[in-house]
């Protein structure tokens, strides 16, 4: 007999014991551990997925924030540029106005200088002309210029070339101004002649006025006057000078305008 029943029975018992012990010491712990590890790995993977999701959300959040920041920055930049443009325009306008004011002031001062120069020139011209004429008349004609002027005035008056009708109403007195001290003889002649024209009861006052340009001037009431002097010639000279100045100033202005109209920013 190759087997005996006792051994078979013993081996069955042995095997059942082995199944029990291995279940206790091998399969139970190992299966539980594997399940636990699976759970752990699953949890970790889920956690990682959750974290990835969160990270993705965070990333999107920050991207949106960044975009917003960028837009804000661009807006601010544009605003700043607009402000700078406005300021620049204003500043330029202010500067131009200032320049215009300065230019006007400069023109005014030039004008003033011109007028004072003209006055000075006139005074000087009168003086020189008068001096030269007087000297020439004295040297060449052996007579005084003033006397000759009065004589010519009287002769013109006599011929009726000078109209005294404007002074007719000034019966209470006419003032005769002369640039020089008129001799009594001449005063008498002038008074006689004027009285011959305007009536004998007319009184004539004689005044010495150095500002008067080499001649005489009859002034009645209400501002009527008759003048016999160099003023007309001087005025012609003045007109000539004026036109010259005008020309010069026009040239200057066009030059300055072309300089201003140059390259503008």
């Amino acid at each position: 007999m190759l087997f005996d029943w006792f051994t078979v029975f013993a081996q069955i018992v042995n095997f059942l014991i082995l199944v029990f012990l291995l279940q206790k010491f091998l399969y139970g712990p190992i299966v539980n551990t594997m399940q636990e590890r699976e759970r752990l790995v699953k949890e970790r993977i889920e956690g990682a997925e959750q974290k990835q999701l969160e990270a993705e959300q965070e990333r999107q959040h920050y991207q949106a924030k960044n975009q917003e920041l960028h837009e804000h920055f661009e807006q601010k930049q544009q605003q700043a540029e607009e402000e700078v443009q406005a300021w620049r325009k204003e500043a330029l306008h202010g500067a131009r106005q200032e320049v215009d004011v300065t230019l006007q002031e400069w023109h005014k001062s030039v004008q003033q200088e011109m007028s004072s120069f003209k006055a000075e020139l006139r005074r000087f011209a009168v003086q020189q002309t008068y001096t030269v004429a007087r000297q020439a008349v004295r040297d060449l004609a052996d007579t005084s210029l003033e006397e000759r002027m009065v004589e010519v005035f009287l002769s013109q008056l006599n011929k009726g070339e000078i109209d005294l009708s404007k002074l007719k109403n000034s019966t209470d007195g006419i003032t005769l101004r002369s640039a020089f001290k008129m001799p009594a003889k001449l005063q008498e002649q002038v008074q006689k002649e004027v009285q011959a024209h305007l009536g004998k009861d007319l009184s004539l006052r004689f005044e010495n006025d150095p500002d008067l340009t080499a001649g005489i001037e009859l002034a009645g009431q209400e501002g009527h006057q008759v003048a016999w002097n160099l003023r007309r010639y001087l005025e012609a000279l003045e007109d000539e000078l004026d036109s010259q100045f005008q020309q010069a100033s026009l040239d200057t202005k066009s030059a300055s305008d072309s300089a201003q109209a140059g390259p503008r920013p």
Partner: protein, 231 residues
Amino acid sequence: MEISPDTWVLWQSGSLKLNATILFTWLVMAILVIGSWLVTRKISGALTMSRGQNMLEVIVEGVMNQIEEVSQQDPRPYLPFVGSLFLFIIVSNVLAIVPGFQPPTGSLSTTVALALCVFLAVPVFGIRTQGLRGYLRQYIQPTPIMLPFNIIGELSRTLALAVRLFGNMMSGGLIAAILLAIVPLFFPIVLQALGLLTGVIQAYIFAVLAMVYIASATRAHSGRDENKGEK
């Protein structure tokens, strides 16, 4: 020369006796249980583990995969029984290479005992999953005429299980012993290596067949695929 380690009796008292089969069975059991205990007493569910734990997990996982593949069911209820069959047989067979060790699987008493365990386990698992009626109905499938053949099949496959394992292991040891007497050099080593391979294959076949029988009893309304894959 002994064919079976049953005949090597170490101690006897009446009908009780301690032979080499039982002794070496205890040795194999001790190796398995103590080895498992040493590893699993400090088991860890963390992602890192000891080498022993890793090895045991690989073995258990492999057995579970095989059970699942064969049964197409959750392997956990069958793992202790089928896994223990496989581990006991493979350790016994592999230890056969150790001089002086008599594999308990080389004893017909052991293989009969294991085959009887399978023979009893089939109705136990079958009734547990399908109920008594469901299980018994399988014997009259497809027609009641098949009842005696089914019963004969049940018995013959149990006998086949026992004899197959015993024959393979006994012959392996016997051939090695004979060759050792005839050609003492080189050839016995080749035969031992072959014996190792045979032992591992037999362990696998025994466990898989046991699982196939159990699965056929637990699978409702399925045909009986007995003797499938038998050597």
